[in-house]
């Protein structure tokens, strides 16, 4: 066996929600029998953006806010990989929010785990887009609400680092969704920053687990949107598998049309010389 890097211990503070996220991810990998060389974990910038250092996989540390385009490129190029993008709320909802919108729309087979703690922890406690309105004079942003509003979004869930069993189940469901070629799976995790924004107590009473509601239908976009918004008005938020709809990812469409994964193509020019000659002839005068 070739020796390669050993995962580091996390840099997070004791009690950080992100430990729960990492543990759930490792458990989900075990449950899904993910081989370390088949997983690519791409991370943004910030405390959440160090998670890739703490798992055995192909890890990549992206630029701030750009984890989703990088993950999209990787998945389109090698659809066999389990591509997991991770990052914080600053990374995904502030600097990278444009890519989040377009990832819902483009629907690549990427699992996106966004660790929401309502603060910029690594830069020591500035407000993030999801910070409470009372502290910032700005209304808090809600990524689930955003996702539901975009036609084509197909997997929207919210977990909590305080509920590890459900979190693992949601990660497994997200990976199954992407592996089945259904597309982008968005999982926000409420993952408190115990140092700058310890929301464990405040969030505990506000979460409503839709998985436990018998009448809740996660296949109903309008119902989900109504439920999520009604809860927000009451200053509460939904957790669990909030919305799921089967779409088709671009990499799956490619494979279905008989095209090979990009990474498997024989690119030697002499294999396709006739094709190249034909294109060149098109420029002939």
């Amino acid at each position: 066996m070739t020796k390669t890097y050993q995962p580091n211990e996390p840099i997070w503070c004791a009690g950080c929600g992100h430990y729960g996220v990492r543990n759930a991810l490792l458990a989900a990998f075990r449950q899904m029998q993910v081989e370390s060389h088949q997983a690519m974990v791409l991370a943004g910038i910030g405390c959440a953006g160090t998670l890739q250092n703490n798992v055995s996989a192909y890890g990549y540390h992206a630029l701030h806010g750009r984890v989703l385009p990088a993950a999209t490129g990787a998945k389109l190029a090698n659809p066999r990989l389990d591509v997991i993008a991770v990052g914080g709320d600053g990374d995904g909802y502030a600097i990278g929010c444009g890519h989040l919108i377009h990832s819902f729309k483009r629907n690549p087979g990427v699992v996106y785990i966004l660790m929401n703690n309502g603060t910029y922890g690594l830069t020591k406690g500035q407000h993030s887009p999801t910070a409470d309105a009372e502290e910032t004079d700005e209304q808090a942003f809600d990524g689930v609400q955003l996702g539901l509003s975009i036609p084509g979004s197909g997997f929207i869930a919210r977990g909590s680092s305080a509920s590890p069993v459900q979190l693992q189940a949601l990660m497994v469901a997200a990976m199954e969704h992407t592996r089945a070629g259904k597309g982008f799976a968005f999982l926000e995790v409420l993952s408190p920053c115990v140092t700058y924004n310890d929301t464990y107590p405040a969030w505990a009473g506000r979460m409503v687990n839709v998985d436990a509601l018998a009448e809740y239908d996660c296949g109903d976009r309008i119902g989900a949107f109504t439920a999520v918004n009604s809860l927000l008005v009451e200053n509460r938020f939904a957790t669990g598998l909030i919305f799921k709809q089967d779409g088709k990812s671009p990499e799956r469409r490619r494979l279905d049309s008989g095209q090979a994964p990009l990474c498997d193509l024989d690119i030697s020019p002499d294999r396709q010389l006739s094709g190249f000659r034909e294109i060149m002839a098109g420029y002939g005068v």
Binding site: M1, T2, K3, T4, Y5, N8, E35, S36, H37, Q38, M40, L42, Q52, N53, S56, A57, Y58, G59, Y60, H61, A62, L63, G65, R66, L68, P69, A70, A71, T72, G73, A74, K75, L76, A77, N78, R80, L81, G98, H99, H102, R254, Q259, A260, L262, C263, L265, I267, S268, P269, D270, Q272, L273, G275, F276, R277, I279, M280, Y283, G284, V285
Partner: protein, 590 residues
């Protein structure tokens, strides 16, 4: 060949955007190509979809030329403004074919020896054929008469260009052509007609630099492209979208330049050869990604088809004012290569080399085009496809990895390039990061590691200089005066040099194709000259400044610059050089 046949003809068709100027030029291009002329085509449009002044200019010449000529010999003008704008560029004894639908031409701005043929094309087209658009074929009819082309040949060319149109459209255009010929024969004296040469027709491509970049990338194994539309680079995206299916490639339109560049990075990490293309404003947005590719050692090709800046600048006009940004932009020290092609063949070759180099050096490779190189089309000999070879770089496959006791993604090596495995390869698990890190990819700010890693990355360039493309040099190798320019200057310099040589000036020329790093070839050219004129399209003299910083002697460098959005004409450049030489002699005489 016919006696007194035209050896060099510059034709402009100008009007409002949407008038169809490009159609007339296309039919004329077909005609000239059949007669064995080389072609160089340029368009000049306002940055809007329809309307605004738009012109298409074509040079047909028996010698291969890389730029437009000094003057316009033949102008087809659909409006007064087109004539006014071109007036100072009209050659002596040139001809203007004017659409007089809105009244007679006011020729105040024209020299007396310019001949004008006034025909109300638009009005006739509507009257006879019920559509204004047929004025294009009508005007080609007039052109074909003036150029002494018989009906059969003119019709053949028209049909070839319109071959994909429905039969009734072709019939209507043919009718328009014949009307045009008829009007011209009534209005234009038989004895004043011009004659085209009838040279041997060779196999030629008519292709733009942007199209050649896209084609070269595919040939070099490029299979992932992401871009965001921007003038004047969009044709790279469009060409690749057109051809991608056939090669099972992906050419994706991203939501912005940040997404485009980072998608390309993501694909590149999996080992798929990847590219993005943009122009100045988009390239500015990509700076962080380029620095990241340099740090994380990810192979990425970035095309910057430069337009006139700063900021939004003049989107449809050429400039070479991003040299500083391409060479020095982005945060931190990291290795990069900047290559500058001068014409479509160069674009093809350097696109292949850039794609290979990115793999070999695991760093960003930038292709520096300008609007003229990217969007102008010219005829060239077909590419030698058999000569294209792929350089895989230090890629490790699963079996090689199995035989290694350990794998470090950023292993320190003699030439700085680390062997790498791509995701999906067992045993190659690694951490790829823009953070400073140790050989395993683990974040580190240890001072000694830092030095080692910065040096390792720089060594990739320093120890692989032999891989970088050489420039093109021509002229009198022993001359003491040198002309040096990149991109769109190449064709102009070539023609200026020929004229200056004919006038008795001994001159040598260099078109460097690797502009960063500045390679010995470039400096040797300067060192072996008494004077080198650096010709470039920007106000600051960015290329000259780059060469001075690299060690060129200040006394030796003369800087010739332009930044009005219009390329140098050969005559203009000749005058600049002659003036500079006269000034020098004046100074030394005092």
């Amino acid at each position: 060949m016919t006696a007194n046949a035209l050896t060099d003809l510059n034709v402009m068709v100008a009007g409002q955007g949407g008038d169809g100027s490009l159609t007339v030029i296309s039919v004329l291009a077909e005609l000239l190509a059949r007669r064995g002329y080389h072609l160089y085509m340029s368009r000049n449009v306002a940055s809007r979809i329809k309307g605004g002044h738009a012109e298409a200019t074509m040079r047909g010449s028996l010698l291969q030329r890389g730029c437009l000529g000094d003057h316009i010999d033949l102008l087809v003008a659909f409006e007064q403004e087109a004539v006014d704008m071109a007036a100072t560029r009209m050659a002596a004894e040139s001809i203007i074919i004017f659409d007089a639908s809105d009244g007679a031409l006011c020729r105040d701005a024209l020299a007396p020896n310019v001949r004008v043929v006034e025909i109300p094309f638009g009005r006739f087209a509507v009257r006879d054929l019920r559509r204004d658009l047929f004025k294009n074929s009508l005007s080609f009819g007039v052109l074909s008469h003036i150029l002494s082309i018989d009906e059969g040949e003119a019709t053949n060319c028209l049909h070839h260009i319109f071959r994909r149109l429905p039969q009734d459209a072709i019939a209507a255009n043919t009718k328009a052509l014949n009307r045009g010929r008829q009007y011209a024969s009534e209005l234009y004296a038989q004895q004043d007609r011009w004659t085209l040469a009838d040279a041997e027709r060779s196999e030629q491509l008519l292709i733009s630099g942007n199209e050649a970049i896209a084609f070269g990338f595919l040939l070099a194994g490029g299979r992932f492209f992401a871009g965001y539309p921007i003038t004047p680079a969009t044709e790279v995206l469009e060409s690749l979208q057109k051809h991608s299916v056939r090669f099972e490639a992906v050419a994706i339109q991203a939501e912005d330049e940040l997404a485009a560049a980072n998608m390309a990075l993501g694909a590149a990490m999996t080992g798929v050869r990847s590219m993005t293309a943009t122009s100045g404003p988009g390239f500015a947005l990509m700076q962080e990604t380029i620095s990241h590719a340099g740090s994380a050692e990810i192979p990425l090709v970035v095309v910057n088809c430069q337009r006139a800046g700063p900021s939004t600048g003049m989107p449809t006009k050429p400039e070479q004012s991003d040299i500083d940004m391409m060479v020095f932009g982005a945060n931190g020290d990291f290795p990069r290569v900047v290559l500058a092609p001068g014409e479509p063949r160069d674009c093809f070759e350097l696109s292949v080399q850039a794609t290979n180099l990115a793999q070999q050096l695991q760093c960003p490779v930038i292709l520096a085009l300008d609007q003229a190189v990217g969007q102008n089309s010219s005829t060239i000999e077909p590419f030698d496809l058999d000569a294209v070879q792929l350089q895989p770089g230090k890629r490790l496959d699963a079996s090689e990895l199995r035989n290694m006791s350990e794998y470090r993604r950023y292993q320190v090596t003699a030439d700085g390039v680390s062997p790498w495995a791509v995701p999906g390869t067992p045993g190659g698990e690694s951490l790829v990061t823009g953070n400073e890190r140790n050989e395993w990819g683990q974040v580190s700010s240890n001072p000694q590691n830092r030095r080692t890693m910065v040096d390792k990355r720089q060594r990739k360039l320093d120890s692989n200089l032999q891989l970088l493309p050489r420039g093109k040099s021509w002229g009198d190798a022993d001359a003491s005066i040198g002309l040096l320019g990149i991109g769109m200057q190449q064709g102009v310099i070539e023609e200026a040099q020929q004229r200056l040589t004919a006038a008795g000036l001994r001159i040598k020329c260099l078109q460097p194709r690797t502009i960063w790093p500045v390679i010995d070839e470039t400096l040797d050219f300067i060192r072996s000259s008494k004077r080198v004129y650096v010709i470039e399209h920007n106000q600051a003299g960015q290329l000259a400044r780059l060469l001075l910083a690299a060690g060129a002697s200040k006394a030796c460098i003369g800087s010739i610059r332009k930044y009005d959005g219009e390329p140098f004409s050969p005559g203009e450049l000749c005058s600049e050089i002659q003036q500079a030489e006269a000034d020098r002699q004046g100074e030394s005489g005092q």
